[in-house]
Symmetry: C2
Amino acid sequence: MALIVQKYGGTSVGDGERIRNVARRVVATRQAGHQVAVIVSAMSGETNALVALARELGGEEPNPREFDVLVSTGEQKTIALLAMAIQQLGQDARSFTGAQMGMVTDQAHGRARIHSIDAALIRSVLDAGGVAVIAGFQGVDEHGNITTLGRGGSDTSAVAVACALEADVCEIYTDVDGVFTTDPNLVPAARKLDRVSYEEMLEMASLGAKVLQIRSVKFAMRYGIPIHVRSSFHEGEGTWVVREEDVMERLVVSGVTYNRNEAKIRVLGVKDAPGIAATLFGPLSESGIIVDMIVQNLSQDGTTDMTFTVPRDDYPRALALMEANANAVGAARVEGDQDIAKVSVVGLGMKDHAGVAARMFQVLADDGINIQLITTSEIKISVVIQEKYAELAVRALHRAFVEQGAAEPVAES
Amino acid sequence: MALIVQKYGGTSVGDGERIRNVARRVVATRQAGHQVAVIVSAMSGETNALVALARELGGEEPNPREFDVLVSTGEQKTIALLAMAIQQLGQDARSFTGAQMGMVTDQAHGRARIHSIDAALIRSVLDAGGVAVIAGFQGVDEHGNITTLGRGGSDTSAVAVACALEADVCEIYTDVDGVFTTDPNLVPAARKLDRVSYEEMLEMASLGAKVLQIRSVKFAMRYGIPIHVRSSFHEGEGTWVVREEDVMERLVVSGVTYNRNEAKIRVLGVKDAPGIAATLFGPLSESGIIVDMIVQNLSQDGTTDMTFTVPRDDYPRALALMEANANAVGAARVEGDQDIAKVSVVGLGMKDHAGVAARMFQVLADDGINIQLITTSEIKISVVIQEKYAELAVRALHRAFVEQGAAEPVAES
C-alpha cells in the first residue's frame, strides 16, 4: 500500500464527464489498495470567466485580496463536484478548501508562498479509508484571508501536500504523455523521457517546456518526493522526475528547449567600476522586470559591454529605463533587439562531458546560424540566435544530441 | 450616524451592471455618514446552475456536506465582485465569507441554524470607515465545515448580522416596493403597508406573502431590530417591520393572504382516546412532512374526525402513510382532497375586535363560497375553501376589510 497524491489540471476536470473520469481513476487507485489524496484545479474556462468578471467590476487592477476571494471559488467548485462523483461510485470522500486543510501562506495575494500545511486532518480522512479531495492553488494567510499561489499553483499545492503527507509519489496528470526531449510539435522525433532528474526538469521548465510549474519541482527536490508526470487520457507510464542518482540512463543531453518570448538589450561602453551592475539592474528590479541571461564582456579600452535578456512584453519598458539610466553609468549607447530566440540543451551528462559546448556550436555553424550570446551552467548551455533560425536550431540540436546521442549514453563517472 | 445593514437578493446582483448599482447605493449610504454592512446572495441563476452540476455529479441526493461546499461559492463570488465595485468608487470595502465572519451554525447542512457570530472583525472594518461585504446564506460548523441556511437564508443572515452588530435597521432590498395588503397581481387595489408588526409579518410570511423569510422575522422580533423591506430599483420608502407598539395606524386587518399549495386529508371515525393524535401524526413527522392546519371535531358516537393540511407535493406520500396507519388508530376511513385553497386575514386589530370572524364568514357566504375548515389565532383567521373560489374570496375579503376597513381604524385599546 502506497500513499499517492494525484493532481488533475483544469482540462482533466473541464466538464461533468471528465470529472467522472477522474473519479473512476481515483477510485481504481483506491481499490488497488492505495491511500489517495487528490488535488484539483478549477474547471477549464472557469478561472478566465472569473478574471473577466473581476476586470468588469474591479478595473484593470482589481483589489488583490478580493481577487483571490473570487478566483478561489473555481477550485472550491471542483472539489465539491469531484467528491460527489467519487461518493457516487461508493467510495468515501471529503473535500478540503485551502482554509480547511490549514494551507497557511504569506500575504502575497496572487503569488503567495506556502508556510505550512496541517496534514493531520487530511491524514485522518485517509486513515479512515476515505479519499481527500483538495483545492489546489489556494491557501489562507495567518489571519484567514484567502490567498492564491498564482497560475499553475496547483502543481505546487500538490507537491506541498505530498511533502506534508510524506507521500510515496506525486502524480501530475496532464494532457501530454510526459516530459519530452523537445517540443514534439516542432520535432516529430522528440521522445518521451522515462526518467529525468529534478535539476534537469528545473532547467527545462524554466526554459519553456511548460509541463510542470518550476516551484513545484524545487519543492519536490527539497523533500525528495518523486513526481510522476502522466497523461489523464490513458494508463501508460509518463515521466518520473526523481533524484539524480535515481536516473538510470544518464544522457548527455536529455532535452532541447527554446524560448521566443525574450528580447535582448545591450549597454555599450559602460565604465568598468564596482557597483556598476547594481546601478544598471536596480531600476529593472524595482519595476518588477525579470532579467534572464546576463553576459558581460570587457573591452580593450577599459569599458565594458553588458548584454541581457528580458521578457518581450517588458522590452519597451526595460529599454526606456536603460536609456534613462545610461548617463548614470557613463554608457556610450543602448541597443535593443526583439528579433531573438534562446535555444538550450540540458542534461546531467554534460557535467562529465567536455565536448558538448563545442559540438553544439559546430552543429549551429553547420547550418549557418550565428550565435549572439552564450551562457552556461553545470547542466545547461544556452545560446541566443536570430529568431528565424529557432526551429532549424532546435531540430539540428535534437538530431545531433538526442536522436544520435541517445544511442551512446555516457558511462557513469 | 446610524449603523445600517443592507441585504440585496440574487436579482439585485444579477449581473455586473446591477452589482455596480448596488455599489453606488452602498457608497451613497456611507457618504451620508452611516456605517454600512452589506449582505448579498448569489447572482440570480448562479445557485440553480450549481444545483444542476450537483445533480449531474452527485445524483438526486448529493452529499449534503459537499453540496454546501459547492453552493456557497455563489455568494463568495458576489462578495468579491461587490467589494471590488465599491472600491472602484473610492470607498474602502472588505469581503467576509461565512467562515471569515465567524458565522457558526449547527451541522445541519442545507438548513443550518445560526449559533453565533463573531462581530468584532466586521466591526473593526466599519470602525475604520470601511464597508463590510458579507456572504449571506452560509456559515461553518464548529469543525469548520461549510454549512448553508437553506433557500432564502440570506434574509436570516442579514438579520443575524444586524442583531450581532446591534444595528439601527436591517434593510432588505427586493424587487417589490414593500409588503402589500394582498397580492397586487390579484387585487389591483392592494396597497403597500407603511408599517407592520413582526407578529403580523410572521403570519403573512408563513401564509404565502413571500417577501421575507420567516426565520429572519423571528430573529428580528427576538432582538427588536427594525426591518425595512424596500425596492432596490428606487429610493422610496418601503415597509417597516417593527414592534407592535411602534405600529401607529393599527388596522383591523392588515393583510389578506392565500395559499394554493396545500392539500387536505381527513381521517374519519377515529377512536377518541389519549395518544391518538401522536399515533396519527408521528409517521408524518418522521417522514419530514410538515402539517399546517389541524382541526378535530368530536362526533356524537364517541369517535372523532381529524382533518389536516399538508404541502401539495407531499400529499400522495401523506395519504399513503395515513391509509397504512388507519388501522392502528381504529379509523373508519381516510379521505383526501387536493382541490383546496387556504385564505387568511391577518391583523393586530382583530385582537380587540370580536366581529372579524363573523364578518369574514358573511363576506364569503355572500359570494356563495362554502367554508370547509376554519382555524384561528390571536391575529389571524384562516379558512379552507374550494380552490376555484380562491381569487374571488381574496378580492372580496380585501374589499371588505382593507379597502373599506382602512377608512375606519380601530381605536387603541
